[in-house]
């Protein structure tokens, strides 16, 4: 474990034990027998530590699903589902920290600041999977919208995260359901749908029905 990781886990341990952030970076550094500037070498603030923890969580889940033997056979829909399940399985052992970190984050439009770095990781990963899906024609390549697919998945991610925090079912079974239903619906929308066909049909009629359009 390098010192960066050490600091992260020390921070997490502190937060879990005290239910609050350390008063100052100085106190925290002292408790861990390092100089204050040592801390700043890695992080700008405690928020920075939390961001790094979140980013690591997302990364770990990505590595884990990519490592599964079946990964290559999965469609892009299944790849994303698999990531969601692994990620929330991973969160289970850190539930107290997650709820601490998210509940402290100010309610703003968009995602909380602590998730910023995680979001980048997430989007990089999903963009890749989505691109594969579009190339294999599993997903519909719509002008303008196709670039926004990853945003829809991020919203889904935020939704499930909030859902999970409030989930009190045994084994978080309800969260599994939320993932299964939510991600599937999102992917149904990414696929060719009646709307696309309607649009195509409209275009066809406009060209060929003999009705002169007033333009």
């Amino acid at each position: 474990m390098d010192s960066k990781e050490k600091l992260q886990s020390a921070y997490m341990g502190y937060v879990l034990l005290h239910g609050a952030q350390p008063k100052t970076v100085f106190i925290f550094a002292k408790e861990n027998d390092i100089a204050e500037e040592e801390f700043y070498k890695y992080f700008g603030s405690f928020e920075g530590v939390e961001q790094a923890i979140w980013k690591d969580l997302v990364n770990t889940a990505i590595q884990e699903v990519r490592g599964q033997e079946i990964w290559a056979q999965y469609s892009s829909r299944e790849k994303i589902l698999s990531f969601f399940y692994s990620f929330f399985e991973l969160l289970k052992s850190r539930r107290s920290f997650v709820s601490f970190s998210l509940n402290r984050a100010p309610r703003t439009l968009g995602s909380p600041r602590v998730l910023e770095a995680a979001k980048e990781e997430f989007e990089q990963f999903t963009a890749g999977v989505l691109l594969e899906g579009i190339e294999s024609r599993e997903l519909m390549d719509r002008q303008f919208f196709a670039k926004r697919y990853k945003d829809a998945l991020w919203m889904q991610f935020g939704f499930v995260l909030n859902f999970w925090l409030k989930d009190s079912s045994a084994g978080f079974e309800k969260t599994d359901e939320a993932i299964e239903k939510g991600v599937n619906l999102t992917f149904d929308l990414f696929q060719r749908s009646p709307i696309d066909n309607l649009f195509e049909y409209g275009k066809f009629l406009a060209k060929n029905s003999g009705i002169k359009m007033p333009f």
Partner: protein, 439 residues
């Protein structure tokens, strides 16, 4: 009347289709209600769930009231009173479960990791992530282990919760719909809820499956898959893979009368052995729960729904099968009282009325037992008579009241289900192989 009968018969299969589409539609609407709820909630986090429940209940109510016509009648005939409502539930749930979308591959992997701590490919030599069949509240996958072909049943997540919450939601509307008091219906509802929830307990199902398949091992022409408790969990069941045809496919192969009789006999023995010897019965005689193997044996593949018959129900109920009791009015009345078909508050005229109506019904229903040791289930008249009787009492205001102990719901469902399968098989069976015990 005869015209009535044919119409009734014709309307049964078709109404089944309509019924299922009705419930599918409700499912969509309810799904829509949740979406509506959550999108509203995005802008107004304080929004309570009342509106949502109201929306849901209204849609369920709408579909139940449309059901009143067709399903109600058939089920009424089944239970001879207003037990129909729970029946509509049973239908609704089996229907909506059947329509559940298949579980995604990742969710299956996740389920195994959660309950077995390992991914399926670590547990089995081979595991097919694509499901082969839908079971009532889950789906079935093929797997291989040590050269043996296995069937692995996986339950949809959250089924148990969904059953409880849906039942709660529909309850008040159900009472209004049937014009019955909550107290009257409560017992029946509870019975249905209990059975439905039991079905979601896979650990219980494995224990029962092992117990029942051992207890019934001595019966002729019946086979059970081997169960693997150590490879099963709360949400998964592993059992041996039975090769065979479902009833419909089997009948398409044009089996001879003799073969059909053999299967029918096995079915009859299976049920009567359980009812009279084990006092607990596989209460879901749905054709999908049986297979007919290559060598002409009956395979039983699902022990999710078991109804136990307590003595205070068993003895009065089956005493009516005996001629000695049934021809003796006093004894019959006593049995009716024990079964709460005649209530303490009834006056003379009511007692006489219910005595006659119920006697007619029981006379019909016990025909297979009382017709001299063997019964030909291929005869349409028997079923027409029952339908006609159901049609008749459906119009009687006296039957608007709930009567009979709660055990009737599943016992009637079981026996009538059995009759129906035997009818489809057009089988003639010996009905005195496992006679009821009398006290």
């Amino acid at each position: 009347m005869s015209e009535n009968i044919t119409r009734e018969q014709n309307s049964i299969p078709s109404s089944k289709v309509q019924r299922s589409t009705r419930f599918v539609k409700t499912g969509f609407k309810i799904g829509g209600n949740y979406v509506k709820h959550y999108s509203k909630k995005l802008f107004n986090p304080d929004l309570s769930k009342d509106q949502l429940n109201e929306d849901n209940a209204a849609d369920i109510y709408a579909s139940l009231s449309e059901l009143k016509g067709s399903a109600l009648k058939v089920a009424q005939m089944l239970s001879m009173d207003k037990n129909i409502l729970p029946k509509a539930y049973v239908n609704q749930f089996s229907q909506s479960q059947y329509n559940a979308p298949p579980l995604s591959g990742p969710l299956i992997v996740q389920t195994f990791r959660k309950y077995h701590g390992k991914t399926p490919d670590r547990i089995f030599d081979e595991f097919n992530l694509r499901s082969t069949n839908a079971a009532s509240i889950g789906q079935v996958h093929q797997a291989m282990l040590n050269g043996k072909k296995l069937a692995v049943k996986i339950q949809y997540p959250g089924v148990g919760d969904a059953i409880s919450s849906d039942l709660k939601m529909v309850k008040p509307f159900a009472f209004r719909l049937l014009g019955m008091s909550e107290k009257e219906l409560e017992v029946y509802m509870k019975e249905v809820e209990e059975r439905l929830l039991e079905e979601t307990d896979y650990e219980l199902e494995v224990r029962r499956s092992v117990k029942f398949s051992e207890a019934c091992a001595g019966l002729d022409n019946i086979v059970f898959p081997e169960y693997y408790p150590e490879l099963s969990s709360k949400r998964t069941i592993t059992m041996g893979w039975l090769e065979g045809r479902h009833l419909k496919e089997y009948l398409q192969t044009n089996p001879s009368q003799q073969e059909r009789n053999r299967i029918g006999q096995a079915l009859w023995d299976f049920y009567n052995f359980q009812e009279h010897e084990l006092r607990a019965v596989h209460a879901d005689p749905h054709p999908g729960n049986f297979l007919i193997t290559e060598d002409g044996k009956l395979g039983v593949i699902d022990f999710g729904c078991i109804k136990e018959l307590p003595d205070d129900f068993y003895y009065p109920f089956f005493s009516l099968v005996s001629n000695e009791v049934f021809t003796n009015k006093e004894k019959t009345l006593q049995a009716f009282r024990d079964l709460e078909m005649i209530l303490p508050g009834d006056n003379e005229a009511q007692i006489e009325f219910y005595y006659r109506s119920y006697s007619e019904m029981i006379g019909l229903f016990t025909k297979p037992y009382t017709s001299g040791g063997s019964f030909d289930f291929s005869r349409g008249e028997f079923f027409e008579e029952i339908y006609a009787y159901g049609e008749k009492i459906a119009r009687m205001p006296e039957f608007k009241q709930a009567r009979g102990v709660k055990h009737f719901i599943y016992t009637n469902r079981t026996n009538f289900g059995l009759y129906n399968i035997l009818h489809e098989l057009r089988a003639t069976v010996r009905t005195d192989t496992f006679p009821p015990h009398l006290r």
